[in-house]
């Protein structure tokens, strides 16, 4: 069985290789080939899953050792895979949602002449993401980690003739690199501390290392997670990443890649458990991002950017849960999976809307679309209900548990975290209702564009609606299924460990308050966007709104401090290199030149004067010799 693990990765990798190197010959079948290989990977995943279900909880982990990657004295890095319940969950999510999005893209990218390449990149992403979750050591995980970064770079910048897309791609890669720096430092620390960076030995011996080291490793891992999962302070790339084609936003920037940070923290649970300080920072980062993303999401008029803010906020929930330790890991992953369903569904819905609206993204120019796109409306609506945590749907089950766990943290911290998560739930309900109302309800607000083309909203083709329907099913039922008999908890417990949290207020009260804040959020949004017509030109808005539209000024800060400062630094260094470092050398050369110019005058060409210098020199030599003798 374990020999199948490599095939999981090999299938999409083969697809990427074929599609990217195959040339124009494959243009006509490229998308089908890519989709089939993604599906093949999913099928292998299901086979492995079925096999795993047949075994007892503790014996489920599979290992496959392919070959030694970097065999250097004292440094063993292997290409080896580990498939346990946690990895399995991700494999199914990645290949499942991935396949659906491949299918969706067949329709979405139909008119793009570079569709083959798009599928090549998508396959590359799948392979890298699978490598990330299947790796059995941190260095190989790093390989996958940067691999998904590359795929994300290529896909965000897929329409690279647009300067904004190229810039966004570059920004995403760079910000991620800052996070990657954290991961590489963490690996180096592990190496010097434990002499290895394989999951097993490192995670088993966390207790023996000094507190400072463990905290350092934890914080560096958190930095990495912040980069990849768009958490404060490295969140600024996610909004811009929406420049990529919408299926990319759904797959990479909602369902899978951005959740890699949560995977990393959960996987490294033993490290964080051993360091309460690091855990505290994780929780704070999660809580801040949760609110940050939600506030940004409330102000954006671009449908994809509003959803991006929401993604950031939901991942904040997961990071927060992961920071709570064993009471939270399982729910972080559970929310991750349900979020994978409903957020992918929402993005695909947004893509479907854009498809029908000539790629317009401004929600103020939508309105009343439910009549024109019934399937999109229903699937998007179900996703909407799921994300706001409508009782019974997926999001409810997972988010409620996280809020409970936040309260269960205990003490003042518990109350603060509980309050933050509840506030986040209210904001989620608000901004998602806002998106829903602005897009599908009210009067139509679109107008002909500059060339007089009026959009003709229409339902998308089958290849696009079917994945949306499947994801909508997941959004509705997944959470309930996972919570039935605590099946998800039992599934993951052997890997991540689990403790029942004991919130200071009863679970029922938590649920009740969740529902109450949900209603408040929905109500507020309805009062603002449902009762009154939505203005096509955005009103000026309060100070907070304006700041939130600009991503709470984070980009401006980056621009002034990092971009401008960096430009000045590099320019002045170029100057210094040219004048100072080079100048010293050129100056030496010039002074020699001047000296020789003066000496040159001695060469007047008269044989007599040369003879004088010869005789003079000889005389001096003789005199010197005699003098030395005398002394």
């Amino acid at each position: 069985m374990e020999n199948l693990i490599a095939l999981l990765i090999a299938a999409p990798l083969l697809g990427a290789g074929l599609l990217l190197c195959g040339g124009r010959r494959l243009d006509r079948v490229g998308h089908l080939l890519g989709t089939v290989l993604a599906a093949a990977s999913f099928v292998i995943g299901v086979v492995l899953f079925a096999d795993m279900l047949g075994k007892g909880g503790e014996e489920r982990a599979l290992h496959q050792h392919l070959f030694s990657w970097v065999p250097v004295e004292g440094f063993q890095a292997d290409i080896a895979f580990q498939l346990d319940q946690l990895s399995m969950t991700f494999v199914l999510l990645i290949t499942g949602v991935g396949t659906l999005i491949h299918i969706y893209s067949i329709g979405y990218m139909e008119h793009d002449e570079r569709r083959r390449r798009f599928f090549g990149y998508l396959n590359l992403f799948l392979a890298a993401m699978l490598l990330l979750v299947l790796a059995d050591n941190y260095l190989l995980l790093y390989f996958g980690w940067e691999g998904v970064g590359l795929a994300s770079y290529l896909l965000i910048g897929f329409w690279q003739h647009k300067p904004s897309a190229a810039t966004a791609a570059k920004k995403a890669f760079l910000v991620n690199r800052v996070g990657d720096m954290g991961l590489s430092i963490a690996i180096m620390l592990m190496f010097t501390t434990f002499g290895t960076f394989a999951f097993g030995p490192v995670l088993e011996s966390t207790g023996e290392a000094s507190d400072g080291t463990i905290t350092g490793i934890g914080l560096m891992l958190l930095l990495a997670a912040c980069g990849k999962s768009a958490q404060v302070p490295l969140q600024s790339w996610l909004g811009d990443a929406m420049e990529g084609p919408t299926p990319v936003s759904a797959l990479i920037h909602a369902a899978t890649m951005v959740t890699a940070g949560v995977y990393l923290i959960t996987r490294s649970g033993a490290i964080f458990n051993a360091s309460p300080d690091a855990q505290l920072v994780v929780v704070v980062v999660g809580a801040v991002t949760l609110l940050f993303g939600a506030i940004v999401g409330c102000a954006k008029d671009d449908i994809k950017k509003a959803l991006a803010g929401s993604t950031m906020s939901q991942i904040g929930y997961m990071i927060l849960a992961a920071g709570l330790g064993p009471i939270g890991y399982v729910f972080a992953i559970m929310h991750l999976v349900t979020h994978g369903f409903f957020k992918a569904g929402l993005f695909l819905g947004a893509g479907s809307v854009m498809h029908g609206m000539n790629d317009e993204v401004d929600m103020r120019k939508y309105g009343g679309l439910r009549k024109y796109m019934p399937v999109t409306f229903v699937t998007f609506g179900l996703g909407y209900l799921a994300i706001i945590g409508f009782p019974g749907l997926s999001g409810f089950w997972s988010k409620d548990k996280i809020i409970e766990a936040a309260f269960a943290k205990g003490g003042t911290e518990g109350w603060i975290l509980g309050a933050v998560t509840l506030l986040g739930a209210a904001l989620t309900a608000y901004y998602m209702t806002r998106v829903m109302l602005m897009t599908f309800f009210g009067e139509k607000r679109w107008q002909p564009d500059a060339e007089g083309n009026e959009p003709h909203p229409h339902e998308s083709p089958k290849s696009m609606t079917i994945p949306m329907i499947v994801l909508a099913f997941g959004s509705v039922f997944a959470g309930g299924l996972f919570s039935l008999n605590e099946s998800f908890v039992k599934w993951l417990e052997p890997v991540t460990a689990f403790e029942h949290g004991h919130p200071p207020i009863s679970a029922g009260a938590v649920t009740a308050s969740t529902v109450v804040v949900l209603l408040i959020g929905v109500g507020a949004a309805y009062l603002q966007y449902g009762r009154k017509p939505v203005p096509v030109i955005a009103p000026r808005g309060s100070l907070l709104t304006r700041a939130a539209r600009r991503d709470l000024l984070q980009d401006d800060f980056n621009h002034v401090v990092l971009v401008r400062g960096g430009e000045h630094l590099t320019r002045s260094l170029v100057y210094v290199d040219h004048t100072l470092v080079d100048g010293v050398v050129n100056g030496t050369a010039a002074s020699f030149g001047g000296l020789s110019g003066r000496l040159r005058k001695l060469q007047n060409g008269y044989a007599r004067s040369y003879a004088v210098s010869m005789f003079g020199g000889t005389a001096v030599l003789i005199a010197a010799t005699l003098l030395m003798r005398a002394v």
Binding site: E146, Q160, H161
Partner: protein, 523 residues
């Protein structure tokens, strides 16, 4: 007596150079094919040497020894350890690609008379450089090495000064001026380094009474070598200065951007990927072996200089407007990594540095040769003259991106392995330096992606609209290099197997052991 394989690897390109130079003016294309054939023959010989080399065997293998200038104890002594054989193979591997990439770079201009034979000269000089570089990787006699170290300046000087990049902003006249400036600068810097090294070489002979590496090492082991601490340090500095200029290390780096900017792309590859490696190789072989104590004494300063090189080179690369100068500064940053790995004196650092030399050679060759193809199409080296190339020449853009990704050390491509090893090796003994050096990987992403964005993406620049995509000859250059980058990125074991024993020898020379991990992890 067995077949002198090592001599042959150097003799074949040397003979090739003579034959190529002798081809009549009219048979220009024939000269190119002859040069290519000789470089391929060298590659075959290098491959045989690589196969015959036994990783677990003696330290120096395939040795040859003949008396040369017996009055001064100078011998013609050759032998390779794992590092030498790997670098020799790299050189032999890259030269055919350099020749193929520079196929039309030295075609005579029509204005010159028919007896003008620049093409023959160009390829003959390249082969000459190859012969000298290969022999310098094999020399185990300090004096022989010194001669080669200096002599290779001459052909490189003519390659820079005589065959410049025709894509010059200021026209031919300004091009010629800049070119001769760059060539003279290159020569002066390296001669100055070489002169100081000569003094140190003589000093070493006075102290040790021999030039033979093996004999000096033996004398050191027996304790018969009586060298005062001060003297060892001075001699070390003399050697190190010369190698630092050639490598190049901050602050003696400024000749490289000029030389690489003005030379044609293949010659720039020759300089940075092949000739400069002699400098870093020599640090490993001569500085560490001959003067272990002084090397340890100098380590902190060298590491700081290397760190400055890494960050400074990367920052300057970000600020460049000229594609080739940008790559030159990126190389300075990478040389910083190599030197850092050498002087960290851990197994990982040294293995990493050796792998880095090879991987940097391949990745720079890939990036720079594609950049050369790009520049030759548009006739400009300025980044701002490009834009949207991806749209008109997707294969060119794709290969350029892969070369760039290798330069920024993306996992899966060969340079990642070596860069990470260097970082880990440094971090385990000097954590602060290791952490600051990781800033280099963020900056690398910055300069590579900015370069890619400005040249390849965005709206199509009018001047590149009719740019053709890569031709068959160009693909034949790039594809094998990229394949090699991918292969060594995932499976570097063949290389590490060869390199590791040599690294162990060096580690025992400097009497250093790797630091033990804080916690003995469960196996």
């Amino acid at each position: 007596m067995s077949f002198p394989l090592l001599t042959a690897t150097a003799a074949v390109p040397a003979i090739g150079a003579i034959v190529t130079a002798a081809v009549p003016a009219a048979r220009r294309t024939g000269a190119k094919w002859i040069a290519l054939a000789f470089s391929l023959a060298t590659l075959v010989l290098a491959a045989i040497a690589l196969v015959r080399f036994e990783p677990g065997g003696d330290r120096y293998q395939l040795t040859e020894s003949h008396a040369w200038i017996s009055d001064f104890g100078v011998r013609y002594e050759l032998g390779v350890d794992g590092i030498g054989v790997a670098l020799m193979a790299l050189t032999a591997l890259l030269i055919p690609f350099i020749i193929l990439a520079g196929w039309h770079d030295a075609d005579p201009l029509e204005t010159k008379s028919s007896r003008w034979r620049p093409t023959q000269g160009f390829f003959a000089l390249i082969l000459m450089v190859e012969a000298m570089v290969i022999l310098s990787f094999e020399a185990t006699d300090v004096f022989l090495f010194y001669i080669l170290f200096e002599a290779m300046l001459i052909p490189v000087y003519f390659l820079i000064g005589g065959f410049g990049d025709r894509a010059h902003a200021g026209g031919d006249e300004a091009g010629a001026t800049q070119r001769s400036y760059a060539a003279v600068k290159f020569l002066l810097y390296n001669l100055a380094g070489g002169l100081i090294m000569l003094a140190a070489v003589i000093g070493l002979f006075v102290q040790a009474g021999t030039f033979s590496l093996a004999e000096i090492a033996e004398a050191r082991a027996n304790g018969t070598l009586d060298m005062s601490t001060g003297m060892e340090r001075w001699l070390f500095l003399g050697f190190f200065f010369a190698f630092a200029v050639k490598a190049p290390l901050w602050p003696v780096h400024t000749w490289l951007p000029n030389a690489m900017g003005e030379a044609t792309a293949p010659v720039a590859v020759l300089i940075t990927a092949v000739v400069d490696k002699v400098g870093t190789f020599a640090m490993l072989r001569f500085c560490l072996q001959l003067f272990p104590e002084a090397s340890k004494w100098a380590t902190p300063v060298v590491l700081v200089l290397a760190l400055i090189s890494i960050v400074y080179g990367a920052l300057l690369a970000v600020g460049q407007r000229d594609i080739k100068r940008l790559i030159a500064y990126a190389s300075i940053s990478h040389f910083g990594f190599i030197i850092m790995g050498i002087f960290a004196m851990t197994s990982q650092g040294q293995s990493g540095a050796t792998l880095y030399m090879i991987n940097h050679g391949i990745s720079t060759a890939a990036l720079l040769l594609v950049a050369g193809f790009l520049i030759s199409r548009r006739g400009s080296r300025l980044i701002s003259d490009y834009g949207g190339v991806q749209k008109v020449a997707p294969v060119l853009a794709g290969t350029f991106l892969i070369g760039g990704l290798a330069t920024l050390s993306l996992p899966g491509l060969a340079p990642f392995v070596s860069e990470f090893l260097v970082l880990v090796g440094t971090f385990s003994v000097y954590p602060v330096i290791g952490i600051i050096a990781t800033v280099g990987i963020v900056l690398a992403a910055l300069y590579v992606l900015v370069l890619y964005q400005r040249t390849m993406t965005g709206p199509v620049n009018e001047s590149v609209r009719s740019m053709p995509d890569l031709k068959l000859r160009e693909l034949a250059v790039v594809t094998p290099l990229i394949a090699l980058l991918l292969f060594l990125g995932v499976y570097p074991k063949p290389l590490t197997d060869i390199v590791n024993p040599a690294v162990e020898h060096t580690m025992s020379d400097v009497q250093k052991t790797d630091p033990k991990p804080e916690v003995e992890a469960a196996p």
